[in-house]
Amino acid sequence: MIRVEGVTKRYGPTTAVDNISFEVERGEIVGFLGPNGAGKTTTMRILTGFLPPTRGAASVAGFDVATQPIEAKSRIGYLPESPPLYPEMSVIDYLRFVASIKHIPRKEIPKRIDAVLERTSTTDVRDKLLGKLSKGYRQRIGLAQALIHAPEVLIFDEPTSGLDPKQIIEVRELIRSLAGEHTILLSTHILPEVASTCGRVIIINEGRIEASDSLDNLTARLEGATALLLDVEGPPDEVRRALELDLAVRSVAEESRLGDRTALRVEVDKDDRVARRLAAVVVNSGWGLYGMRSLGMSLEDIFLQLTSQEEQANGGEGPAAGQGSDGGAPAADTAEGQEGDDR
């Protein structure tokens, strides 16, 4: 339904989107997740034909956005980052106008307007001026506008931004209720939003796609990684280097330092023996191990991990096989772990 192939977008010297490709199948709800400035809006503007890409091609419902814009656009319902409302028009006049430029036959317009007003629970403001609506209602009329021609593909740019918690829940419910009839791509920088509405997630950062997977797989992947907090007495740099040698270790970051003791956050692949091995490394090197604690990896952690750069560089894959020091580890673990090891 949606296909993006090798799309790059440059604004002068800045590259907003860098050679991204992805597809969305019919009936899917895909969350487009990324921090501010990641390139979500830019990608959506390219998909909807508002911006031409610098390189690459996008197509919607089988129509190339650049070469068959009218066909593609008539199959898209688009809610831009800020709802495109004319403040001096009434809700009903506005929807009539949108229905007309989306080529709905004149006779069907009243019916379609009633349908979308009901769907977005906005029937009670139909005669109000758009400029006088509250933010929540503006957002809903923005959604109504996108739905009016019953398009196959819906593209929503941050549909819940600026809403209160109750409205957020209502809008998410609305989006879920659209599943099945429509193919939906929505952007957000809030993780729970993806968890509650989307079947698949595309994580984008600095114009590049960092991950694209079903929510279940991604969650499994989150669970596949975990973090340990080590409290070590010893020269910090040497300790770090020694720990990083283990193949299951993805990254080591210093959390805090107190005298000779350093708290280190170590992100590791899930592997039941890694904690023993790390303890052994510390102890065998003659340093003191004052504590070791397992830190669960939250959804936020994974998001941050995927979207922060340095950590990408040394991501070790798979559990380490055949570590030399494995044999003596269990003993050392219990011997030096004086402050308790609660994993």
């Binding site: 508002f50 911006l51 066909e71 495109p84 001096e88 430029i101 506008q145």
Partner: protein
């Protein structure tokens, strides 16, 4: 066609939900009404005197009332057209509603023609005010109506050209005031070219005269349609609309 009209009707009705339409119409009615009644009073005086002295040539309403009152309107348009056109695209650029138009299944030319037509419809209302004034003449005198129609046609064409230029200049910015100032500046420049031509007799002078907006209206106001004037206004309008289209395309590249 339906899309173009939909956009035009929206533009037209927006003028009346804001004070702009009323301000523009009131200013026009006031100024036109003044020139018209002044011309009429002068005409009455003069024809009264002429009746007393049998040797004098008969007076012509067209020449003494219609021509000057319509002829003065080119200056008035200089001020009113920017007020009409400044918001056309600038406001859409500012509020982001341009994103709705450009992601709807519309061709760029439909959007531009629609906006231009919407502005032209308000301009048509202004001309209607003039027509209502002028029709009073038919109650008491017998003006020739053919030259009157030609003069109105000329005024319509001149307005269409100015509005097309204003539409283009409105695409360049997201600030209505800037769009209005730009339009006023450009129209003023085109108007001033007429003075330059009176100092310069060389080809430059003739070129300036050809480029200036108002001289092309002179023949129209006398009831004469000249091909060069017709070509000037039609190509000026086409140029304005064409530049708008190019600007809308490049807006997408920049936006």
């Amino acid at each position: 066609m339906r899309d173009t009209l939909t956009i035009a009707m929206r533009e037209f009705s927006v003028y009346f939900t804001s004070p702009i339409a009323y301000i523009v119409l009131a200013i026009f009615a006031l100024i036109f009404g003044y020139f018209f009644t002044a011309g009429l009073a002068f005409f009455m005086d003069y024809s009264m005197q002429a009746q007393g002295s049998p040797g004098a040539p008969p007076m012509n309403v067209n020449q003494f009332v219609i021509e000057p009152s319509l002829g003065n309107m080119s200056i008035v348009l200089l001020f009113l057209v920017p007020m009409i056109t400044m918001r056309l695209f600038a406001e859409e650029n500012r509020s982001g509603t341009i994103e709705l138009l450009l992601t709807s299944p519309l061709h760029d030319y439909q959007i531009i023609l629609g906006k231009w037509l919407g502005a032209l419809m308000l301009y048509g209302c202004m001309l209607l005010v003039a027509v209502v004034n002028l029709s009073v003449l038919f109650l008491y005198t017998t003006p020739e109506w053919k030259p009157l129609l030609v003069a109105l046609l000329g005024l319509a064409l001149m307005g269409a050209t100015m509005i097309a230029l204003g539409t283009f200049l409105s695409t360049l910015t997201r600030n209505q005031i800037v769009a209005g100032a730009l339009t006023f500046g450009v129209l003023l420049l085109l108007w001033v070219l007429n003075w330059v031509s009176s100092f310069e007799t060389s080809t430059i002078g003739r070129l300036c005269e050809y480029l200036a907006i108002s001289p092309h209206f002179e023949q129209f106001s006398r009831g004469v349609i000249e091909l060069k004037d017709l070509v000037y206004y039609l190509s000026g309008t086409a140029l304005g609309l064409f530049l708008s289209k190019r600007s809308l395309e490049s807006l997408r590249w920049k936006a």
